[in-house]
């Protein structure tokens, strides 16, 4: 199997975020692999170990994303494609998916894996648009993948603790949910081996071509705190509290 895993480098979760000009102050950031993408990579490596073939990672971004690409190679990906652009954030999900589809098309993949969404922009669109552009069937929020007799059986996460089991043909695209398997560490030998693995660089010359898409501003969630006192006897107050927790806060 040829398995393509699309990975994105995002600001690390503990980064200090300061909104600045349509994005956040980059000088404050450290970066890491997008969490669901790390699980997509894990699944891609696991399937390769089970069924043979090749795992190829694809990532778009400036020079710094090579660090994330190297991490994937060190964990066991065979080679990588780097879509080079200073600021892929300027692209709409459709444009990003177009660039990715162009880069992938020649690879004739049996399976394309992405994380279900990115931790920074969180569109959750790029994977499914990519499937459409590649002409592949897709399934989203995948919790389990089984390849059997040249076809896929996947488990999808639905709302409220429900799951859906789907059988689908190959080739296909799946967007992977975090937690699908235990993440492996990059071994020291793997890190050393990764030094000689191929990273194909594909410069993205095109500027933004989707005039309908523009990020106006980003802001931190406003913090609000409201205090409510319940009147009545302890029993009545408790009943009111349970009601609020159930239907307003929805934590019960």
């Amino acid at each position: 199997m040829t398995i393509i895993v699309c990975i994105k480098q995002v600001p690390a979760r503990e980064s200090h975020l300061r909104p600045a000009g349509g994005w956040v102050e980059e000088a404050d950031l450290s970066y890491e692999i997008n969490e669901p993408d790390a699980f997509a990579l894990e699944e891609g490596l696991r399937l390769k170990e089970q069924h043979g073939g090749e795992t190829v990672v694809l990532s778009a971004g400036p020079a710094r994303v090579v660090q994330t690409i190297r991490e994937a190679l060190a964990k066991g990906a065979d080679r990588a494609i780097h879509l080079e652009h200073e600021n892929p954030r300027a692209f709409s999900p459709l444009e990003t998916a177009r660039f990715m589809a162009d880069a992938i098309a020649g690879e004739k993949p049996d399976l394309v894996l992405t994380g279900l969404q990115s931790d920074d922009l969180g569109y959750g669109h790029t994977g499914v648009i990519l499937a459409e552009l590649l002409g592949l069937p897709h399934a989203t929020i995948v919790m389990q993948v089984e390849v059997r007799d040249g076809a896929l059986r996947v488990k999808r996460e639905l709302e409220g603790g429900w799951f859906q089991h789907v059988e689908m043909p190959l080739p296909a695209l799946l967007t992977i949910q975090s937690g699908i398997g235990a993440l492996r560490y990059a071994t020291l030998m793997g890190i050393k081996k990764a030094r000689t693995k191929e990273i194909r660089r594909v410069p993205l010359e095109a500027g933004p071509g989707d005039a309908g898409f523009q990020v106006e501003r980003v802001s931190l969630p406003a913090r609000s705190k409201a205090t409510r006192l319940f009147d009545g006897s302890p029993q009545e107050a408790a009943a009111q509290l349970v009601e609020k927790l159930k239907f307003e806060a929805r934590v019960l």
């Binding site: 090579v66 660090q67 991490e71 560490y185 990059a186 071994t187 020291l188 050393k192």
Partner: protein, 389 residues
């Protein structure tokens, strides 16, 4: 507990290569996920968590900076970063890896015959075998040249007699690198577990390094074959070369312990409130302690990195390593004491890692060349006069 995000006041990270950062990330995640959750109970029970050996071996931590025989061939800086993260977990875990790599695999690789290398290095690298290093004796610590253990040539073999003490991994070890006096001078030998006349027992009652095995080795007319001598390990200099490797790793390792203490105290000071419902981080005396710690840790990082770069260029000598070990251990110990102070009464419990690091670092100050001896090594370098001879 959130994952550890590093202590990096001076942007020292900007001096590391992509590969060095990746190596640190592997060690860091391993320590967060596998080591730290075990340490409180391991330390309490006085147990070395041997269940970690297999995974540390698979990741390549054992003999990480050595070349060949399955070893990962990491640079000195990459090796140092692994030690830093391991000791952030616990000095006992770092000690295990130090001894296995720097004091057992290194001498076998450097001084051993091809047969000895083939026999031991792959199994030591993969954690299937454990090693220990027997130099110190009950009466000879800082002055190993006075050792009493003897190896007498006897019809194509050797007969060992004597006792070694304070030996990390001693009773766990499948093979011991033992230093003994022969008619021609001091010589290193490989002694296998189970050789008649070779026994070992653990030292109990430790308040420090409780998650590490510390033992005594005894040799009573222990007969070993001629081929057990390490051909190149002649003279005390060979033993000291091994110690320079291990001390280098300690200089990095204790940075990890210091970072854990600093970060614990910093976070604690932000949530602990005292006087007018203000966090103690807002008090000047608390900030002074945190400022001292982060300054000294930052200087220690730069010292370790510089000696590491020198070592990778073949330009580090043992006096540089003495400065690294002595400075960083003393700094880490002081960070542990200050952090304990900032945590108040909570600091003495094992709910926090600070007292565990503090107790461990008292050992680290003494072993692998005491603070005093390293001062004299540096003193000899700048005066040309050896005070300990």
């Amino acid at each position: 507990m959130p994952p550890f995000r590093g202590v990096d006041f001076l942007s020292v990270d900007s001096q590391f290569s992509e590969d060095e950062l990746l190596v640190r990330q592997t060690a860091r995640q391993f320590v967060d996920e596998r080591v730290i959750p075990l340490m409180r109970d391991s330390f309490r029970e006085g147990r070395f968590p041997s269940e970690l050996i297999g995974e540390m071996a698979r990741l390549g931590f054992l003999g990480a900076n050595l070349e060949g025989y399955g070893c990962a061939g990491m640079s000195s800086v990459e090796y140092g970063l692994i030690m830093q993260e391991l000791e952030r977990g616990d000095s006992g875990i770092r000690s295990f890896v130090s001894v296995q790599g720097a004091l057992v695999m290194y001498p076998i690789l450097t001084f051993g015959s091809e047969e000895q290398k083939q026999r031991w290095l792959p199994s030591l690298q993969s954690g299937k075998a454990v090693g220990c290093f027997g130099l110190t004796e009950p009466g000879f610590g800082s002055n190993p040249a006075g050792m009493r253990t003897t190896a007498k040539p006897d019809g194509g073999g050797w007969i060992l007699n004597g006792e070694k003490s304070w030996i990390t991994n001693g009773t766990m070890a499948d093979v011991a690198v033992v230093w003994a006096r022969t008619p021609e001078g001091i010589q290193g030998f490989l002694v296998e577990k189970g050789t008649p006349g070779y026994t070992s027992s653990d030292i109990h009652g430790k308040w420090s390094m409780r998650a590490s095995v510390t033992s005594s080795l005894a040799f009573a007319d222990c007969r070993i074959p001629e081929a057990s001598a390490l051909p190149g390990a002649k003279g005390l200099r060979a033993a000291l070369m091994c110690l320079t490797q291990a001390r280098y790793g300690i200089g990095w390792g204790v940075l990890g312990a210091a970072m854990d203490c600093f970060e614990t105290a910093r976070q604690y000071s932000l949530v602990r409130k005292q006087f007018d419902d203000r966090p103690i981080a807002s008090h000047q005396l608390v900030q002074e302690k945190l400022a001292w710690m982060i300054t000294e840790i930052s200087k220690g990082q730069l010292l370790a990195l510089h000696v590491g770069r020198l070592k990778d260029r073949g330009r580090a000598d043992h006096a540089h390593v003495s400065m690294l070990k002595r400075n960083n251990v003393a700094m880490a110990l002081e960070c542990a004491r200050l952090s304990r102070d900032l945590l108040g009464a909570n600091g003495i419990t094992d709910e926090y890692p600070v007292m565990r690091h503090l107790c461990n670092l008292e050992t680290v100050k003494t072993y692998e060349g005491t603070d005093h001896i390293h001062a004299l090594v540096i003193g000899e370098r700048v005066t040309g006069v050896a005070a300990y001879r």
